[in-house]
């Protein structure tokens, strides 16, 4: 067999001949510098390779080495708290090996630490029957996450030996006797804590389930108006500067998933540095431990090689699936999927494929759908019936903020939650700048039973009312623009006033304030109820004749409602009871005084 050699180099695309034995998506080492690449096209003897590193200085005639393996990630304890590049090389190790702040070429570092020892506690015994996905034992990976060492997919048999104690990820921790289907012979299979999985293949599950629980995010506009379910898929499109990254980072900080995978795909280096600096210091609101202990970061910033950007999204979701298989609720943030699509477009262009819409390859839609379909709530492999979920939230960066472009449209076809970011809101410093008229969630019906049971019976009713009030506001505003506020009836003015309270006192949330940044769903319910109570009480008095609406506007209980967002979670129920009482008293006061006024007028008239 002849050694394949390079015949052509154009940017990240390398063409080699002598590639008859190469497989599609096989990993190859390109040139003397051993750059990592992946076979993406084969034509007879010639094969096209996308190279995950810079190709300057590489030329025809240099060798290409086949590895026989497809692009895979290493799975095992030690993934959490790591900071990887797009092909799972720890960036910290790259810095050490390169001995420079720059990422130099041909650096070969393993994804998981080979030296570190982990305490393995078996839960199975020799002689136990096990099937794929069954938990063999556990390792305390971080203070937050107990790592479950599972029987790899495709292995079913009897435990022959199982160890207990301190091991590296390459040590054999168990031996399973597997019956070979043809010969009926028992074949021992050695199990280590290190497993590999090709990134482009979804990891198997027993069955998928319909999402029925919300993923709480602590952001009021999301949890109350447009909730996402555990196992759901959501999209955040928005022009630059509208707050995609801030929203994604807030989600990574405050959503109540147990494991977070955050992919910085083709975005700014400083953003990843910020996450890396903040997460070890920030405390998880649900457990009080540093957020980093439950997080895996993947960064392929915009100046890193473009082909690895395409891979980074798959690397991330494979790691996320692995933790889902352990029975955890995992949330994955991809910022931004548009860069991933553009990386596909760039490779497609270099391969001279026939372009689809706006130069994107024709398979953009199917690749996008394939990615989001890897999310979901599921029954995990294994006989213990455990459940896990994988929620994915992808940012989309449409050129010029135009949502009709192919990436946004293909994403919206497969995601059920749409959080539309609006640059106009950021100009007004309204955060999070999620447009309440354009956004939607298709999970609300599926989640209603949960809210009724866990929060309050009228939670969903209030959400629908709030949404209606905001809708009416936008219509009334058009009228105001033409004829002014005076032409509105007191009832319409009240709608405007309530909408303003919903916008400014409920939807507006300060991500930098320690109390305001995270609001529990119960507190969200009470905040909304307080505003609606205000409206209901006012409704009872405004239909009196000659009612002066500015008196409602001047009630000082309004400032109590404004300050609700800063009320500490502890003891908030009692505080809200007080505020609602105050609303009733002050409104009743208005009623009495206006009754008196009209009485006096009557007297005068007499």
């Amino acid at each position: 067999m002849s050694q394949p050699t390079i015949v052509k180099v154009v940017g990240p695309l390398v063409v080699a001949k002598g590639m008859k034995h190469a497989k599609m998506y096989e990993v190859v080492k390109v040139s003397k510098e051993k750059l990592v690449g992946e076979v993406i096209e084969l034509h007879g003897d010639e094969g096209s390779i996308q190279v995950y590193e810079e190709t300057s200085g590489i030329g025809p005639g240099e060798p290409v080495e086949l590895t026989g393996a497809t692009l895979s990630v290493e799975l095992g304890p030690g993934l959490l708290e790591q900071f990887y590049d797009g092909i799972q090389r720890p960036l910290k190790l790259i810095e050490e090996v390169a001995n420079s702040q720059y990422i130099t070429r041909g650096i070969d570092v393993p994804g998981l630490d080979r030296e570190r020892k982990w305490d393995f506690n078996p839960v199975k015994e020799a002689g136990d029957e096990v099937s794929e996905g069954d938990i063999l034992g556990t390792v305390q990976e971080t203070t937050l996450i107990e790592h479950k060492v599972m029987v790899p997919p495709g292995v079913n048999g009897t435990v022959k030996e199982i160890q207990s104690g301190s091991f590296t990820i390459e040590d054999t921790i168990a031996v399973i006797d597997v019956e070979e289907p043809e010969t009926k012979n028992q074949k021992p299979v050695n199990i280590t804590m290190l497993q590999r999985w090709p990134i482009r293949n979804p990891r198997p599950t027993k069955s998928k389930l319909l999402p029925s629980e919300p993923l709480s995010t602590g952001m009021r506009v999301l949890d109350t108006l447009f909730p996402i379910a555990r196992g759901g898929a959501g999209a955040i499109p928005g022009p630059f500067g509208a707050g995609k990254t801030v929203t994604q980072q807030s989600l990574a900080k405050f959503s109540d998933a147990q494991v977070i995978v955050y992919i910085g795909c083709g975005e700014r280096g400083n953003e990843m540095t910020e996450v890396l600096k903040e997460f070890p210091e920030l405390k998880d609101p649900n457990t009080g431990e540093p957020l980093m202990k439950r997080t895996v970061l993947i960064a392929n910033t915009s100046n890193m090689p473009v082909a690895a950007r395409e891979a980074s999204v798959y690397t991330g979701i494979t790691i996320a699936e692995y933790y889902r298989d352990m029975g955890y609720d995992v949330a994955l943030m991809a910022d931004s999927t548009s860069r991933w699509a553009e990386a596909m477009r760039e490779m497609s262009g270099r391969l001279q494929e026939m372009p689809g819409e706006e130069g994107y390859p024709a398979y953009l839609g199917s690749r996008t759908a394939g990615f989001y379909e890897r999310t979901g709530a599921c029954q995990c492999l294994g006989t213990d019936g455990r459940k896990g979920s994988l929620t994915a939230i992808g940012a989309v960066s449409p050129p010029g903020g135009d949502f009709s472009e192919p990436v946004t449209q293909n994403t919206l076809r497969v995601t059920k939650v749409f959080w539309a970011l609006d640059a106009k809101l950021t100009y007004k410093r309204h955060f999070p700048s999620i447009n309440w008229l354009q956004s939607y969630s298709l999970y609300t019906n599926a989640l209603d039973p949960y809210y009724a049971k866990e929060v309050a019976d009228d939670f969903s009713k209030n959400r629908i009312r709030a949404a209606e009030i905001l809708q009416q506001e936008s219509k009334l505003e058009e009228i105001v623009r033409l004829v002014g506020t005076d032409a509105l009836s007191p009832k319409e003015q009240l709608t405007l006033e309530t909408a303003k309270m919903i916008r400014e006192d409920f939807l507006f949330q300060n991500a930098f304030d320690p109390v305001d940044a995270y609001t529990s769903i119960k507190k969200q319910y009470r905040m909304m109820r307080a505003i609606l109570t205000f409206m209901d009480c006012a409704l009872q008095i405004i239909d009196q004749e000659d009612f002066d609406f500015s008196r409602v506007q001047k009630l000082d209980v309004k400032s109590d409602i404004t300050k609700c967002s800063f009320l500490p979670e502890e003891g908030m129920e009692a505080e809200f009871d007080k505020i609602e009482d105050k609303i009733r008293t002050q409104m009743a006061g208005l009623k009495d005084s206006s009754a008196e006024v009209s009485k006096k007028e009557e007297v005068v008239a007499v």
């Binding site: 300057s56 630059f240 990843m272 915009s302 007004k428 002014g484």
Partner: protein
């Protein structure tokens, strides 16, 4: 000496095809010798076993398919650097044009650089005082940031850039401490106006440099910057790369990379705080489009190549700070938006990479307001960590949000007043309207040499906020209202 090939088969635009070659690598630099003996530089865009596509950095004028010799130099485009480079002026291709000698290089660096490992970065959080209120208070510039000016034809972006280069500096801890003591009822007592022009962007024990790269600008514009630097005595710590409109178009592709390579050398190896001014990115992108079109690539939006995002990112991302290094690179690219259209691919892709943008508004400019920087559309993504106690003053971030929100509301009301008449407005609306007018005239408007300290700017803000009913001040904390809001 490497082999000279005389096998040029095609010349089209800035591209040249050379056949029968051997051992040529991607991105390799080559020297093209024309029949009359003149030499041009080019680089390999497509390396095949028997053919290379070469992109010239200069025009192909006078090149012939017969007789032209091509030598492949076995290296990529490099620039020789040493600290002596400060004070020098180069062409857009890196040749000295100030009559001085060639630089004796301490080392030679590939102008493409290498991606900075995000793990090695340090998060930028040092406040830079620019002396311009709309930037300091609302769109705070941070050392190590990349913050472009989005402008249009006929707008004063050059003056603003020059003013920035002149006035940018980091406050000393003593100044911050002094500034925090001031309350709103006393008129500002801190006045840094005199100290700055000779001190430049940095406190005294820090080294700083300005690097200026001009791509396809007019001679006048290039000369304007050169004069500005000369006037303030900053030329001795500046490096200029000048490619004017009449210089070769494709040379522009190398110009910003030369500038950034020098910046990286000075910042990360010699501990300088470097400010890089790049103008005009629109010309750069057009040069890129020209090469792409000549290669018959599938175009993306408006004929720009699909890899424009990646290409711009490899330049913009060369700003920042690195852990364990004293220096920093702050980038201020200038781009003129064709037809003031922010959705045009160049500003659009730039906005997705840079850490915000300063938006220069034609409407304000036509009202005669300098600098016409409009809060709506302008943004600094790194400001959160550079505002507040210890950096500037506790009320800074609240003031930022309150001023911007109030101005946006005032402008909305102004539009409403046009239709309905001012008399139909209620008192609160009238207050916002008055605020918006005063905001434009007192806060945004300032002189081209006026250097306001951040504390002066903040106090102007408080003075303006006193126009608005107190219950509408929802974005500033009560404690700061007590402390700073002028008592009537």
């Amino acid at each position: 000496m490497s082999t000279a090939y005389k096998t040029v088969t095609d010349i089209a635009g800035p591209l040249m095809m050379v056949e029968g070659i051997e051992g040529v690598t991607y991105d390799e630099l080559c020297e093209i010798e024309l029949t009359d003996g003149t030499k041009r530089l080019g680089k390999v865009l497509d390396a095949r076993s028997d053919l290379a596509v070469v992109q010239l950095f200069e025009e192909a004028k006078g090149a012939t398919t017969e007789g032209t010799k091509v030598r492949f130099l076995g290296r990529t485009f490099e620039i020789g650097v040493s600290e002596d480079i400060l004070g020098r002026i180069f062409s857009g291709g890196g040749k000295p044009i100030d009559g001085g000698p060639e630089i004796v290089p301490e080392k030679k660096l590939d102008i493409n650089g290498a991606p900075i490992n995000p793990y090695s970065r340090e998060y930028p959080d040092d406040f830079i005082q620019t002396g311009i209120s709309t930037i300091d208070v609302l769109n705070t510039l941070v050392r190590g940031q990349k913050l472009p000016l989005f402008s249009g034809a006929g707008l004063p972006h050059n003056q603003i850039a020059a003013q920035l280069a002149r006035q940018m500096r980091v406050l000393t801890p003593e100044e911050v401490e002094k500034g925090e003591m001031i309350d709103g009822n006393r008129q500002s007592t801190v006045d840094n106006r005199q100290e700055t022009s000779d001190q430049g962007p940095g406190t005294s024990d820090e080294k700083f440099a300005v690097i200026f790269a001009a791509m396809g600008v007019t001679y006048e514009e290039a000369q304007f910057f050169q004069n500005e630097l000369e006037k303030t005595g900053a030329l001795s710590r500046a490096v200029l790369f000048i490619n004017t409109a009449d210089n070769p178009v494709v040379e522009r592709i190398a110009t910003p990379r030369l500038a950034l390579t020098v910046a990286e050398y000075l910042a990360y190896e010699k501990d300088y705080h470097v400010t890089v001014l790049l103008t005009d990115l629109t010309n750069y992108c057009e040069a890129l489009r020209e090469v792409s079109a000549a290669r018959k690539e599938v175009p993306g939006r408006r004929g720009y190549p699909g890899y424009l995002y990646t290409d711009l990112a490899t330049m913009y991302e060369r700003a920042g700070r690195v852990r364990g290094k004293a220096g920093s690179i702050t980038q201020i690219p200038i781009l003129s938006m064709p037809e003031d259209d922010i959705t045009h691919p160049i500003p659009d892709l730039t906005g997705y990479i840079t850490e915000g943008q300063i938006y220069i508004d034609r409407g304000l400019h036509q009202k005669g307001i300098y600098p016409p920087i409009i809060p709506m559309g302008s943004l600094s993504r790194l400001k959160a960590k550079a505002q507040g106690e210890g950096k500037t003053r506790g009320d800074h971030s609240g003031m930022d949000a309150q001023l911007t929100a109030s101005y946006a509301r005032g402008v909305e009301i102004r539009e409403l007043a046009v239709i309905l008449g001012e008399s139909s407005l209620n008192d609160t609306d009238k207050a916002f309207l008055k605020f918006a007018d005063r905001f434009e005239n007192e806060f945004i408007r300032q002189g081209a040499t006026e250097n306001r300290s951040i504390y002066e700017s903040l106090n102007i803000g408080w003075d303006l906020l006193s126009e608005i009913p107190r219950e509408e001040l929802k974005r500033v904390k009560d404690e700061y209202i007590e402390k700073y809001l002028p008592k009537k």
